[in-house]
Structure formats: C-alpha cells, structure tokens
C-alpha cells in the first residue's frame, strides 16, 4: 500500500460514499424492478401452488435449494477473510475484508429466504422455529433442516455483529465528517465512539473474541448445509466427504464472488489505490487451494462409487457423468477446477480481465455444482420405475434471478452508505497493537 496519511485514507474511502451518479441509481432501479418481479412471482407461486415450478416426485428440491446452497456458499468468503485471516494476521486482508463481509451479510440474507420460498405452505413457516406454544409442538431436531435453521441463523447473527463491530470506528469517522441525515445515521450507530485508548483496548479484545467465535462457524455452517444431503440415503447425497467438500466449495465460490464484485467496484468507487491488484491476486491464490480441494472431492466421488461396488452408487455416478445432466457436470468440472488452476500463473492472477473472467466462471461453475448435486441424485433414485427429470419453469428462473437482484441491490446500497474498505485498519498504527492479555 502506498504511504497515506490518516487524512488521505479518510478522504480516499469517504469519497466513495458521495452521492452516486444517475447511472448508479438507474442500476439500483433496475435491480429493484427485478426484485419486484420476483416477489410477484413468489406471490403467484404461493397462491397457486408449487406446481407452477418444474418440480415433481422424485425431484422435490432442485431450484430453490440450489440457490440456497449457492448463496450460503457465497457468504463464506466474508467471515473467512475477516475472521480467519485476522487471526492469522494476514496483512492484505485489510483492503478487501469489509467488502467481503458486506457481501456475506447480503448473501446469507438472500440464502435464508430460499428455505421459505421452497416451502409448500410458506404461510406456516414459523412452525420450523422452536417457539413455545400451547400445543406443545416442538420441531424435530433430528432433522437436518432444523440444524440448518440453527446454523444459518447463528451464522447470520454473528456475521452481522462482526461486520457491525468492525464498522464502529469507521462510523465514528464518518459521523465526524458528514452532515445532515447521514450524520444522524452514523452517530446513532457509532455508539459514541471517540477513539480513546480504553475504547480501542476493549474494542480490539472484543473483535478478537468475535473472530474466534466466527472462525468455527465458517466451517460449521456449510458442513451443516451439506448434511441436508449427506444425512439422506440417496446415492450421490449419502457421502461422508460432503462436509469438507461443501466448505471448500463455499469458500471457493465466496472468494470468486469477492473478486467478481471488487473489480468493477474499485473502479466505480475509485478505490483502485486502496484495493490493489495484488490484493485480488492474493484472493485468487486462495482460489487455487480451494480448487484443488474440491477437485479432490470430485475425484473421490466416482472412485468411492466404484470402490463401494454398490449398484445404485455406480449407476448414479454414470448418470451424473453421462446422463441428461452431463453437460452441467462437465462444465462445472472445467469452471471449478481447471480454470482456477490458471491462477497459478502470476500473469493470469494479476490481469484484471483474466481475474474477472475466471471468477465469473467459477461462480457459474459453483452454481452448476449445486444444481448437479441437487438434481441428479433425486432424478436417479433407487427404483427405476420412479425416476424423473426436472426442467426449470419460468417461475423458479424468475425467482432465482430476483434473488440475484436482491443481493446486488443490498450490496450496492450498502457500499454507498458504509465504507467498503476499513478505514481504521488501513491506518498504520503508531505503535504496535496493545497486547491482548
């Protein structure tokens, strides 16, 4: 990072919070329109029935749960960068972690809607929550779906807290620099921060504590999500490798999404000097690791199917690779494993067009991965008589696209309201940080 004075850092970051251009508002309006269309579609689906989707028996889950897993996966980069890399004292995290955290919060919020969207009777969704009631009805904690409810809500709460916690010193800086409604907003959320030594001491301890709390969540949330499948008995779902495989996949997609979002964002918000290419390259470097892990998982799956000798497993593996969904499978392999390995070359890693292209394709690949995981085992069950394929209808396509709109809308509004690069942490400390005792 080039040498900045504290003032320069403040100015660099705060200029991104200036009034957006009209084009920016136009994009927001389009996203809102897309979201509105999705909400109407969801209303239609609720009023008419799940039959408006392409779902059937055997394929009871595909579109919405695919999106759920996808968005939850996206939401893994933030906590990874902010918590785990914080604990490891990785210097380059400072430039990108706030953006990743913001993305996480909106991705998890988007994801959390899908379990509701996919319910047959969404109007009684609260039955999934363990609330005391007169009839002494309690949810079934044997069900992985209940684990999901717990894991995702916990993750969401911790992510929000962690993001907010990191924001407090920055909000105070903004409060001091802004006027009008913004000042009132920041003042309320800055919680009276004045940057004195005591505050910093408590703050850093609390931040460290939260980081320690959030770190296992990065691992646990997607493990729990993977158990939705691994705890079922379908060939293609019932696999012990699912938890690490899903966690690696989630981080893979999350990192790719951070890169995808930051490349245009640093240009639009003129943050090129703070979010440098080397930061993005560092993220891409992590992608190589995750690509290798999921590549291993992809290789283990057919091997285990063959090694188990189980007819259903073998038949499923062949179906996935050569059946009607085979194109998705092969595209997914290329996008998720082959392309990220190109990051091994410094020139690729440090070229913005390459970064953007590959990270976008990783996103596509990771969505397809979840699609393949969802649809192929369901379509190819134990009894040949009751196999069936799934073809998406306009309803789930509209709702899926709308979820992307919701995510982007939230993210784009947030980056204009809150500093997308941490102000405080980019300020080199005058003295070594106080020892945590």
């Amino acid at each position: 990072m080039p040498e900045f004075t504290y003032r320069e850092i403040n100015q660099e970051i705060m200029q991104a919070l200036s009034r957006p251009t009209r084009r920016y508002f136009l994009v927001l309006a389009c996203l809102a329109l897309g979201l509105g269309a999705g909400l109407l579609t969801f209303l239609y689906q609720t009023l008419v029935g799940m039959g408006v989707t392409g779902l059937n028996v055997p394929v009871g889950w595909t579109p919405y749960i695919t999106n759920f897993v996808f968005w939850i996966g996206i939401g893994h980069a933030g906590t990874l960068l902010s918590a785990i890399l914080y604990l490891f004292r990785v210097e380059w995290r400072n430039a990108v972690y706030r953006a990743a955290e913001t993305m996480t919060v909106f991705a998890v919020a988007t994801a959390a809607m899908f379990p509701l969207i996919h319910l047959g009777r969404v109007w009684v969704f609260y039955w999934l929550l363990p609330y005391p009631n007169q009839r002494h009805l309690w949810p079934n904690f044997k069900s992985p779906l209940m684990w999901d409810v717990v894991a995702v809500t916990t993750y969401f709460v911790v992510s929000v807290l962690f993001l907010y916690m990191g924001l407090i010193p920055d909000l105070a800086a903004l409060r001091d620099a802004s006027t009008g409604w913004r000042k009132r907003l920041y003042a309320r959320f800055a919680l009276g921060w004045d940057g004195n030594h005591h505050q910093w001491r408590h703050y850093l301890r609390a931040y460290m504590g939260l980081a320690c709390l959030a770190t296992p969540l990065v691992i646990s949330v997607h493990s729990v999500v993977s158990w939705d499948f691994a705890m079922a008995l379908l060939p293609g779902w019932h696999e012990t490798i699912f938890a690490p495989y899903f966690v690696a996949g989630a981080i893979h997609s999350g990192l790719a999404m951070v890169i995808t979002l930051l490349i245009p964002l640093r240009k639009i918000l003129r943050l090129e000097r703070l979010i440098e290419v080397r930061h993005l390259a560092a993220l891409a470097g992590l992608n190589i690791l995750t690509a290798l892990i999921i590549g291993y998982a992809y290789a283990v799956e057919p091997f285990m199917a063959w090694y188990s000798g189980d007819a259903a497993e073998r038949s499923y593996s062949a179906f996935r690779a050569f059946g009607p969904y085979a194109p998705y499978y092969w595209i997914m392999l290329v996008c998720n494993v082959a392309l990220p390995l190109l990051y091994s070359f410094r020139r690729v890693r440090e070229s913005l067009p390459w970064l953007l292209g590959i990270s976008l394709l990783i996103n596509v690949g990771m969505w397809l991965e979840r699609y393949v995981i969802l649809v192929t085992p369901l379509a190819h069950g134990f009894l040949p008589s009751s196999r069936g394929l799934y073809t998406p209808q306009w309803v789930e396509i509209a709702i899926s696209l709308a979820s992307g709109c919701l995510f982007l809308l939230g993210f784009l509004v947030a980056v204009r309201l809150f500093p997308i690069v941490a102000i405080a942490e980019n300020k080199p400390l005058p003295a070594p940080p106080p020892e945590v005792v």
Partner: protein, 970 residues
Amino acid sequence: MREDGLRENERPEEPTLSRREWFKLAALGGLLGLGAQTPRTFDQLIPLLVPNEQIVPGQATWYATSCRECPAGCGMLVRNREGRAVKCEGNPDHPLNAGRLCARGQAALQGLYDPDRRRAPVRRRASGEEVTLTWADALTDLGKHLAPLRHSGRVAVISDLQTGSLAALLQRWLAWFGSDRYLIYEPLNYEGLRGGLQAVEGRPYVPVYRLEQADFVLSLGADFLDTWVSPVHHTQRFVEHRHGANVPGFVYAGPRLSLTAAAADARLLVAPGQERLVALALLQVLAAAGPLPGWPAWLTARRLSAFTPEAVAPVLGVTPGWLRDLARRWAGARAPVALGDPGVSPGPEASETAAAAHLLNLASGTPALAGTVDHALGQTATAEQTRALLAELDTGAIDTLIVFGANPAYSLPDPGRWQVALEKVRQVISLTPYRDETSLTSHWALPVGTPLECWGDYEPQTGVANLLQPTTGPLYGAPSPGDALLLLAAAAGCDLPATFGASSFHEYLRNRWRQRAGKTDFEEFWRESLRRGGVWSEPPASPRPTVTRAAASKLSFSPPAAPVGPRLCLFPTMTLFDGRGAHKRWLQELPDPMTKIIWESWVEISPATAQAAGLSAGQVVTVEAGGRQVTAPLLVTPGVAPGTVAIPLGQGHTAFGRYAQGRGVNAFPLGIAVDAVTVTPTGRRQELLRTDGEPYQLDREIVRMLPRSQLATARPEPLIMPLTSGFTRDRDLYAPPPEPERRWAMAIDLSRCTGCSACVTACYAENNLGVVGPDHAPRQRVMSWVRVDRYFDWRDPQAPAVFQPMLCQHCEAAPCEPVCPVFASAHNEEGLNMQVYNRCVGTRYCSNNCPYKVRRFNWFDYDWPEPLNWQANPEVSVRCRGVMEKCSFCIQRIREVEFRARQEGRPVRDGEVTPACAQTCPAQVFTFGDLRDPQSKIARLVATNPRAYQVLPQLNTKPAVFYLKKILND
C-alpha cells in the same frame, strides 16, 4: 347432585342483571345485529330437507347392485354416506366376482357424478340450436309426436346390452307402437367368437368357461385377464387356480403383450389372425400322432395337411419343435382348454381363430368345458344386424329412433354412416345421462339416471340374475331409462297399467321378479334378493358340446400365409374399455398397465416393423386403413408382434364431457379393414404421456422371481422385521420404538399380480386423491398412493413384463421420519408411518429421502368440480396445496374396525381390516394384518415363506410390506 348441577339445598344464584345493564346489553346486541349484515349461508352436511330416518350421520349404508361398466355384470356393493354414494366395492356373495372389482367398476361413481351430466331435457332445432325444457314440456311435445305412431311400426330402439326387465319392457313398449325393431348394440360384440362357435358347434354364443377346471390353458388372442367377456371373474378364478394344488400350464398366442400374455408361462406374439395357426397345427399333430380317445374320426391329419408344424412354423416365426412341444403338453393335459378370440378384427379369418380353438377343445373331448354357460353378450347385434337397421333408417321407414346406453355415433366403424342414416329419421331421442356424441346428433336428449341411481336387473350369464337398486337419490331428478320410456308411452296416450301391468319401472320390475319368487313369500324374497344383490343358481347341466359332422363338413380354414403388410390390431383398454370409460377422470389418469401411457392414444409397433418402415419412437404417425386414418404418437415396443399395428380403443371423443373430449384418437373407424395398413410419419414429434421412469430393473432385484422347481428347496431370505426384533446394535443408531400392541403389515404376492391396476383406482375412490390432469400427469405428478410398477426384461422369455404394486412400505425405520423438521411424518403406536397433513409445511424432504418414492405432494389445490366432490369419502380429509400425502394403509378403515371391536368388547380379528386396494384386488394379491399376532395370516405367510422378501433391504428401512417372489412355471 341434582340434575341442574347444583348441590342439594343450594339456591340457584339470583340473576343479577339490572335494568340499566339490560338496556345496555340490548342496545349492544342491536348494534351487533345491525353490523352483522352479511347473509349467513348454511353448509348442509346432509343434503336432505327432511331427514331420512334410514340415514344415520356418520354411519354408512351399503346397497347391493350390479356393475354396468361393461357387459360382465359383476356384483357390486355401494357405500352410501349421508345420502351420497361414495364407494363401490365388489359384492362378496356374488358368484362372478366374489367381492372384487376392476378399475372400471371402482370408477363407476365418476359416471354418476360426472360434472358434465345432462340436467334437463334438451331439444335440438334444425339450426342446431339447443333448447332446454322442463320434463313436463318435453313430454307434452314428445307425446304429441308419438301418439300418432301407435301401431305404426315406425319406432325403433337401439340400446346397450340389456337383459331382463328393461329388455322386456322395451319390447313391450315397441309392441305398443307396433314395432319390433330393437337393436342391442355393443361395439365389442364378440362376433368372431360367436361365428367360430357357430361353425363348429352349430350355435353362436359367447361362452364363459370354468377355467378353474382346466389343467392347461391355451389362449389364442383371448385376453381374459384384461377385458375379455368377464375379466374380473376370470382373473379371480384363474389366478386362484394357478396358486392351488394343481397348477395349470398357460400358453398364450396373440398380437400383443397384453396382461393375459404377460401372465402366461410362454407366449408367442403373432400378427392378428395368425393365432389360429397354432390351434390348427396342434390339431394336425394330434390327429397325426394317433388321435386321442373320442377324437372325431373325420378329423384326420390329411384333412389338416396344410397345417403341419413345418408349414405353419415359418409363418408364426417359431420352430416346428415349439409347436410339437405345445401339442405334447396339450395331449398330456387331462383337461386342457383353448380360448380363441380374434378380437375386434373383422378380417376373413375372424371366426377361424375361435373355430380352430373350439374344434381343438371338442376334438380333444376335454372335460374342462363342463359347466360352460352362455354369456349375455351372445344376444348383442351382429354387424350385419346393425347394418340392416341403418339401411332401414335410410329408407325412411322409421319415424322415431330411441337410443340409450349406446353411443353408436362414436363407436360405429363408419362414423359418417350414422349421420347419413339419421337424415331420414324424423325424431331421434337419446336417453342418456351424458353429453355423448350420439345425444349431440339427436333431436332430443332426455337425461336419465345412471345404473347407480336406478332400479333394474341384469343377467350377465345363465344362472346369475343381478338386481339393481338405487344406491343414492337420483341426481337432477333424472328418471331411470325404464321410467323415461314409460313416461314417453304415457305421454303418447298409453294406458300404462293396462299395457305394462305397472305404472313405474320399479313396479314393472317387481312384477317380473314375482315370477322368480315362485311359491315363497314375495316380499321376503324381494328383500332378500335386494340384500344379496340378486339371485343366482347353479345353471342346469348343459349337454356336453359336440362337433357335428354337419357343421364340420362346412368347416374350412384358409391356408397359412404371411400377411401382406402390417395388420391392424384394435384393442379395448383396461381403463377406457370401448370408450365408455373416457369421461371418467380416474380412468383417464390410470396409466395403461402395460405401457403406462395416460390420458391419450398411441400406436404400437415392434422395433423390427419400425426399422423396416423407417420410424422411430417419439414420432407422430398417421395410420391408414381402408381409406380412413388416425394420427397418434408412436410407441415402439417389443411387446407387439412384428407386422402388427396396434391401436387402443376408447379415446378420441368429440364430445362426452370435459375429460373425454379431444383426447387421443378414435380408432373404431379403422376397424373395417385390417390388412394393408400403412403407417407414415407426419414429421411432428411428441413425447408420449407416460408415468414410468425407467422401464427396466437394471439388476436391482426389485421384483424377484423364483422358478417353481426351486420352490421346495429355496431358503428363506433374511428379513428385517419391522418389530423390535428387527433392530440390532451393530446396524441401528436409534433404539427401537416401544413394541406396539399391533403391527400392521402387508404381503404382496407378485405371482398373483396381473397388473390390472384396480387397486390404484380403489385407492383414488377411498382416499380422495386429486386428479392432476394430462398436463401434469406425465411430469411425475400423479397422486396415486399405490402405483403398479411395471418392469420389462425382453431377454427373459418367461417374464418379459412383471408388475409390482408399490405403496408406502410403512418402514419401521422410515427414512422419511427423521428428516421432517416438524414431525409431520411420524410413527404411530401401531407401527404405521403417518403423515399429519395439518402439521406438514411442505419441505418435501421426506419424499426426497423415500427410497420407494411413494410420497405424493399436492402441487396445487386439485379441483373437484361439482358434483364430483359428492363422492369424497367423509372419513378422509381432502388435502390442500403444499402438503405431502401418501398411503395410510387406509387408517380410517383400521380405526373403524378397532372402534367396532372395542364396542363389542373383543380383540380385532385377523382379516377384519382390509385396505381398499386389498379389498378390490381381483387376484387377491394383498394380505393385510397384524404382524405381531403369530396366528395371523400375514405373520404365518411371512414367517415360513421362502418367497418373502423386502424391497431394498440393504437400506435397513425395515419395511412392513413384504413381497412374495413371482413364481416362474418351468
């Protein structure tokens, strides 16, 4: 305590309402009254103004009647709840079906409650405009018209097969008009069969054989387990017989793999009309090998020299040795029987198949024919008689034509012919409950009741006289056909008591039955007959049929020759029969048992034929025969003989209600020619609407089979019992639930199952299943709780197609239960896997995790157009959209029996609970009972049977449904 709940000596509290408070409350009440302006509608639970004292709310009444969904005339009991008929079941006392019904019988209620039923008389003006009238106005008009026709002889009647009182009334009615033009019209009139029997025995009739006497059955195109003559009767007797002490051999030759063909030990698929060669070759071999005792001397091998196995085998596509083997089996049998029927085909060999088969029976002197009785189908009009009547209509000799029960405008081979004939008839009066094609071409359409609302009688075969009684009040006040005729006669000035001896059909019926009563008290006899559903007697021993020389001298058989070009095979389906089932949505939504096609027509050809013609599956083809053509999607299957083009009958209605209209094609017009059929692609492609996923088992051992020879030595499969004993520490994570008092379980005998799918429709009727319609059915959304899976194995000559009823397995370690986040899928205290609809939020996780894929999701709120909703079983809730549902083992029936047992202070008896599928199964595939009772039938069946196995045992789900392996007769 006193009656008013107060202790002795306690004074009731004084009312403390003060005058002021009274005013306040009164004012408040008045305001509330003003506020509550919305008119309150009351939903009546019992649709009767004056309660009928015979109807006890919550208690079912059963009425015995006869099924009239096909000419078989099975006995039927109809369950009536709160005045509405809600379920049909077989009459257990009935000699034909012994309590069983086929899918069409189960669906009879859908005819009763057809939402497109006619509600009022309609007159069609010359312009085609329909005028709706009241019955009184219609009768006045028609009376004016009919009165001058008295003694004129210018009145004719066409009806479906009617016997007994209605037929008698019709003849008397016609006689009043001086006419005898009465045509009993059935599209499937077994003319070829009758012609063959006429040729051999000198008498045309439709026989009902006693297959349970035979020790070898050879069917030549007679699909007696599908739709032939009396299918439930045949299935029930024959399947029972095949599982008795002396298992009869069974060989089939015919044009397609019907359910009957699939049930045979060996089968030969040959083009229609070629089946006869099998019988003729057998005759030749038997005559040459030194005739059997009693063999007619004139039937020499030389006479049959054209039909040596060597001459016939190449045409049939078998080796001569196959035919000689068959002849050996025939000769070795004590009581063999051959059934020959050419089906719908009117080709030159039409009657030869039946004649050759019957000649084989008679020449062999088989004792299996003893007790054969005539079926009423023998009384139906031949094509010649139908043509004669149409010709008479052409001359203008008939002024008024009454049509009822029949739909000639749909099923006549020449569709234009009907219109032409009608031009010369001044008045055509349709008596029909429906908006069928015939009634839409008539000048008058008078709505009459369906057989379920009417009095009547029907004698399907000698010795079986069924009595029909109303099982519910008449819908829309429709009179019965008999009453409608009497009303017409009265309107024409007829003195009913003088002419008919009765002023209502009910009275007329009773008068006729008085003759049956003989010396016994009539009222007693009548009540008893109504209770039993009819009167049946052992038919008089008929003289043993013999072949006469006189008849035989005229016998000639055309020499064997390979057909020129593809031949046509039109077949009635299990579901729609000859088309009369097409307006019933349960039947439309019931997959054809063999092809699993639903809601449409198809054209079947074999892969060889397809290849030769350059056709492939998924194409839409045009089939042309005799200048007529139909267009339907192509099904390429080895289940049809090479050189055969098979098309199902029953679809292609241009009217007949919302469920029939515009679906598929009507193949009846093709029936005038069978040879030189051409199949040409239209260039369009269309996936067939079918419900099966993969048609093969893929070596998964889902349907297991066992050769009979290994039956004695086979070791029992290891079973994982759905009881505490089924749990072991090394295999199970969770401890077993507490041992229940009862553990309901089911055994399904795959050896008995013919695939007929009656169970599926019975389940629809019992459990209020939604109908998803043609758009959603092929998208794997059919709601059937029990389905009949069909797996092909074309490499297996013994069992190319096997059937497996698949329903909720009520696993003890059910995969659906732990995954449900809200306990909507739960275990009950009797081991049943329950689905709590009210609690279900619709995650569909249970269905995903069900390895048997028997759970059904309500993708929509399925519609029940009025009055189809009247049929709904009040004991079973109707599920809303977004809820999972599945087989409950008919828990409402279990609870009813348990309640009765508790009231009577006794334990539930074994066999007392019967789920709807088990109740109706003509082949008695299902055994249901308490597995914990070691004396129960199910426990004994499972404990010792080397055939018992569970589907997907490797998953350790501990299913409570046990399958018994299919026995292959070797």
